[in-house]
């Protein structure tokens, strides 16, 4: 089930390219391991569902981007592991070299502030506080990641992104405090005012 010779295989999806990227650090990884590695991208990229990782890695293998190998690890346990092929490495390099799409953000808390006139001050406050909690959780998780990465030169760039992320979350935290005051002390129309009475 290698790459077909004549017809070029379908291009990987964005998630597929991300998996190729993870394999470019040189290790052979199983689908399960790929999922856990890709969770480290969650600070700036949506972490794919387990089932999608399996689907994608199959596609990548079918397209010749990765090579599948059956191994028995730790004695008796059988797993499939994947290794980046030269084709795969070339593909991910080419993809990354393209001009980047603009970042895409879906921010449910900002949406709630924007439509703040549809919420009570109390509801709005709770949403913003949930956001602050989340930012703090992300900050501590980034700390952990930084420790895991250590001083290894291989992950120098990863560490840079972790720094970047920390800055971002600290900014969000500060912004959330400001917004909380401004949004919850503002005048709110009485319930039901939007459609008239």
């Amino acid at each position: 089930m290698a790459a077909p010779r004549g017809a070029s295989p379908p291009s990987p999806t964005p998630t597929g390219y991300a998996l190729l990227g993870l394999l470019s650090f040189g290790r052979e990884l199983s689908g399960y391991e790929l999922k856990r590695w890709s969770d480290n991208l969650r600070f700036f990229w949506s972490a794919p569902a387990m089932s999608q990782v399996y689907r994608e890695i199959e596609r990548l293998a079918a397209g010749g981007y990765v090579e599948q190998r059956h191994v028995v690890r730790d004695g008796t346990r059988a797993t499939k592991v994947y290794r980046l092929t030269p084709t795969g490495e070339q593909a991910v390099r080419a993809w990354l070299a393209e001009p980047p799409d603009p970042p895409m953000l879906k921010h449910p808390v900002a949406l709630r502030v924007f439509f703040g006139h549809l919420l009570t001050p109390d509801q709005l406050k709770r949403a913003i506080e949930a956001h602050r909690d989340w930012c703090e959780r992300m900050l501590t998780e980034l700390e952990v990641l930084r420790c895991d990465l250590g001083e290894d030169q291989t992950f120098h760039n990863a560490a840079l992104v972790a720094e970047w992320g920390s800055g971002y979350f600290r900014g969000e935290l500060a912004a959330a405090e400001g917004i909380e005051d401004a949004a919850t002390t503002a005048a709110h129309p009485p319930d039901g005012a939007a459609t008239g009475s």
Copy 2:
């Protein structure tokens, strides 16, 4: 084609709720106008495609969340306009009152830095510079939006979010400068090193 009496209509999609939110400012809007209004959410929410706006607003009308009206505006031009119903307002209020999902970010530039070992310093630099240009463009567009909003109390919350967004983009701009130095001066393995030679 109003809301069915017995069986409750399907819930709106996230984009559907956003459209309801836009209609909650009290104006009757056409599909085309809704698209342009929803573009103002692009700083913190993905702006839907035109075709999706039309599909969603139809669904919302079928579910009784909005009321459709045929009007002839500016003399001869016929358009359909939509108005929020009490049902629709209640639905969007209830949706916004739910605990918010965590923000979801897809940041192709951060991804490129993370996988920086697959790019030349020059390619990486270009990606980061494209990001800075984009941030600057967003900042000026936010300025424009702030002017459009004016001092109108109706859009007080929208103005707050615009402020928030400006802060975010200024942060990104600053971070990008730092990253550019750190990432492009780092040691890079020679091309092809990832899969061995």
